[in-house]
Amino acid sequence: MVTLFHPKGQLEGTFEKTMGAGPDLPGDRSEQREEDRRLMARVAAGDTAAQDELALRVMGCVRRVSRSILRHPDDAEDATQNALVTILTSAGSYRAAASIERWAEGVTVYTALRIVRQRKRHLAAVDGDADPEALTSLEQNTPAPAGLSADLERSLDALPDVRRTTVLLRCAMGYSIEEVGELMGVSPNTVKDRLKQALAQVRVSLRHYLQTERS
């Protein structure tokens, strides 16, 4: 069976109940996990050098995930800092079922989505008629680089935030439909509806970009 996305493992209680262990990133080894476990133990013991090492090690991943989900730079920076604080203070809960990076990614996703929900509540308070599903951020954090998948990124950037987040969680980070639903606080059917709408919209713009490049 062809699988486009890497399968996720069993859900673990590593970080509340919504974060799954996730698949290994390419090249992980059991010795690496042992080293990761030692590092996290030092972090949990309050070793400041270990805390800095961990923070700098996952900083790139945390920042990219934050910026992918929260396109506004201030929100993304908030999510980055919040996630790093949580990662450092929750190091003792790391179980080495997945790499540190994968674990940190899960923490960041949860943190970023919490900010997304806060924005939605704020929006509802300010403008009860606004449709969060239709909102798109005006600012983009990362310029779309040239290349084939850059067209896809441009197409994704045009999506409303919640659909874009749904696609990223499912396609870029490999969460299952059920896990995406848990993360976003919606039912699996809502996740599927959002994905169908997102795919239809992305396909139109992506194929337009591809055909434009060909001509």
């Binding site: 069976m1 062809v2 699988t3 486009l4 996305f5 698949p23 290994d24 990133l25 390419p26 090249g27 010795e31 690496q32 080293e35 030692r38 590092l39 030092r42 070793d47 400041t48 050098a49 270990a50 805390q51 800095d52 090492e53 923070a55 700098l56 090690r57 996952v58 900083m59 790139g60 991943c61 920042r63 995930v65 992918s68 800092q81 790093l84 604080v85 450092l88 203070t89 990076e101 990614e105 680089p145 040239a146 998948s149 067209d151 896809l152 990124e153 990223l168 499912r170 396609c171 870029a172 980070m173 490999g174 439909i177 599927k192 994905l195 169908k196 795919l199 396909r203 992506l206 591809l210």
Partner: protein, 544 residues
């Protein structure tokens, strides 16, 4: 119209997979066959398949693997500072409200003045003074100074100058490795040694030697510092001395030999301390410290080599085309190639020997913080093997391209006087990446080739083999050249081995070498059974 219907059918199947719905083998077969004839659908799949790698880059290498002295982006430093501040703020007890403090003061002052005065007098006796609040220990720095042979730091290859943090593990499979712990402690490990640097506090620097032997040499130490070697049988603590510790495999006694000064030896589970003086040897076993006869054979005395004394530094990285070559610097054997070492700046005689026969000689003159890297015997014509220590480089290159900067800022360039400044390996790599990011693939490829020609032994050149191969395969239509570069990278090894092997498979497919492709896929799946690419490769294997 028919082709639109087929594309619609492809899209429907694709979407169902994305929605987590089962897809039949027939539908999979249809997708493969349709993608073979419809470039748009194939490109769409390619775009989605690359998304995970674009959104989530590969993890950063561990500190031991990073280029020493490489600057951390200011943005990351700023975020780290804010995170630290938040963590510290979260640990402080909450301030009490002013009104409650004021009221409490009034009550205590009015009702307990006399008692408080007596209590203060009583408590001022030193033995009753509450202990001072614990102060965070002052941490010291440590780094590798010599790496010669098969050495792994934190499970990875490293270069001289690699900083070490508490918990760092060292393994010397062959050759020799030396490290320096500030202030003034040099330690060299012999082949077969395994050790952990467990503490790096100024008042308690500790190395745990689980197997093998080390030699430690200490400059006169400041008051309040100590350096300890911990073993399964006990500890050896020294101040201003030179000594060795030998931990054999199995259950044999641990041997300590003192060359200069005095060490304090404690056997495990026994608090009694035994002082061991110059030229004395003791064995630690069964909870006892037992004296041994002095070493009769001078060869038993440990080598006191410590290649760098902690002052101004330069670095040499020597690789050899001839196996088993021993590197000497100024006539002093340093160890086998490949070798990376910190040495004092200035003129040095570099030589390589195999079985006592000289195979190469060189005279090098290094400026402070200059890095010299060369492969011997050299093939003509190396343009210039010297590189200045690179400034902040995003490459994160591996050991061969490391730039040591022990406690010192990495300069922008250290060209000999009178020479025009030239682009460093990192500059060339940056330029190539910028061109690639902007879609100027031919220009990027030319920049990668220039890097490989100008700095052939640098880590940047090695890593760029994979990038150049990807360009040639995916954008420039040269699968045969891509295959050669993937093979060249894999021949030397490196952190991008998995990417290189996957690229090799794609190159073989593009060349129509089905049999070789099948073999390569089988080897890949054996090595990386749970990788992101594995499912697609298994599918391809079935199709072949």
């Amino acid at each position: 119209m028919k082709s639109n219907t087929l594309c619609d059918q492809w899209a429907d199947t694709f979407d169902r997979a994305l929605l987590g719905e089962p897809i039949s083998d027939e539908q999979h077969r249809f997708q493969r066959e349709h993608e073979a004839t419809c470039a748009l659908c194939a490109e769409e799949r390619g775009a989605w398949a690359s998304l995970p790698l674009r959104v989530l880059p590969a993890p950063l290498p561990a500190p031991a693997q990073r280029t020493p002295g490489r600057s951390i982006p200011p943005e990351d430093l700023a975020t780290l500072a804010k995170v630290r501040a938040r963590l510290q703020a979260a640990q402080k007890p909450p301030a009490r409200a002013r009104w409650s403090v004021a009221r409490a003061r009034w009550y205590v002052g009015a009702g307990s003045l006399a008692a408080a005065a007596c209590l203060a007098l009583f408590l001022s006796a030193p033995r009753f003074l509450a202990p001072a609040a614990p102060v965070s220990p002052v941490m010291v720095e440590a780094r590798m100074t010599l790496i010669a042979g098969e050495i792994r730091v934190d499970g990875r290859s490293a270069a001289a100058g690699t900083p070490l943090t508490p918990g760092a593990s060292l393994e010397v499979a062959s050759g020799r490795a030396c490290l320096r712990v500030d202030p003034g402690v040099s330690v060299c490990l012999t082949p077969g040694s395994r050790a952990h640097l467990t503490r790096l506090e100024r008042g308690d620097r500790r190395l745990e030697l689980s197997q093998g032997a080390l030699f430690a040499s200490l400059d006169p130490q400041p008051a309040g510092t100590s350096f300890t070697v911990a073993t399964r049988a006990g500890t050896v603590t020294a101040v201003g001395t030179a000594f060795s510790v030998d931990v054999p495999e199995g259950e044999g006694p641990v041997i300590t030999h003192v060359l200069h000064g005095v060490v304090a030896v404690r056997a495990a589970a026994n608090d009694a301390e035994v002082r061991v003086a110059r030229s004395e040897r003791v064995a630690l076993a069964d909870g006892k410290v037992s004296p041994l006869p002095a070493a009769a054979d001078p060869a038993e005395a440990p080598s006191p080599l410590s290649p760098w004394d902690g002052g101004a530094w330069a670095a040499v990285e020597v690789t050899s085309r001839v196996a088993g070559a021993l590197v000497t610097v100024d006539g002093v054997p340093f160890g086998p190639a490949p070798l990376s070492a910190l040495i004092a700046p200035g003129a040095h005689r570099l030589a390589l020997q195999v079985n006592g026969e000289s195979i190469a000689q060189d005279v090098i003159d290094l400026a402070p913080e200059e890095r010299f890297a060369k492969m011997y015997p050299s093939e003509p014509p190396p343009t210039d093997a010297r590189t200045a220590s690179p400034s902040a480089s995003p490459s994160g290159s591996g050991a061969a391209g490391a730039s040591p900067a022990p406690g010192a800022a990495v300069p922008g360039g250290a060209s000999p006087p009178g020479n025009a400044p030239r682009a460093t390996a990192s500059d060339l790599l940056r330029g190539a990446r910028a061109a690639r990011a902007e879609g100027r693939y031919a220009e990027a490829a030319a920049a990668y080739r220039s890097l490989q020609k100008t700095y052939p032994t640098s880590g940047e050149a090695q890593a760029s083999l994979v990038s150049l191969a990807e360009l040639e395969l995916s954008h420039l239509g040269h699968p045969e050249q891509a295959l050669r570069r993937f093979d060249a990278y894999l021949a030397s090894g490196g952190a991008l081995a998995q990417e290189a092997r996957y690229g090799r498979i794609r190159a073989l497919r593009a060349l129509g070498r089905t049999k070789d492709e099948r073999a390569a896929i089988n080897a890949f799946l054996a090595a990386y059974p749970t990788s992101v690419q594995s499912s697609a490769l298994r599918e391809r294997l079935q199709a072949l």
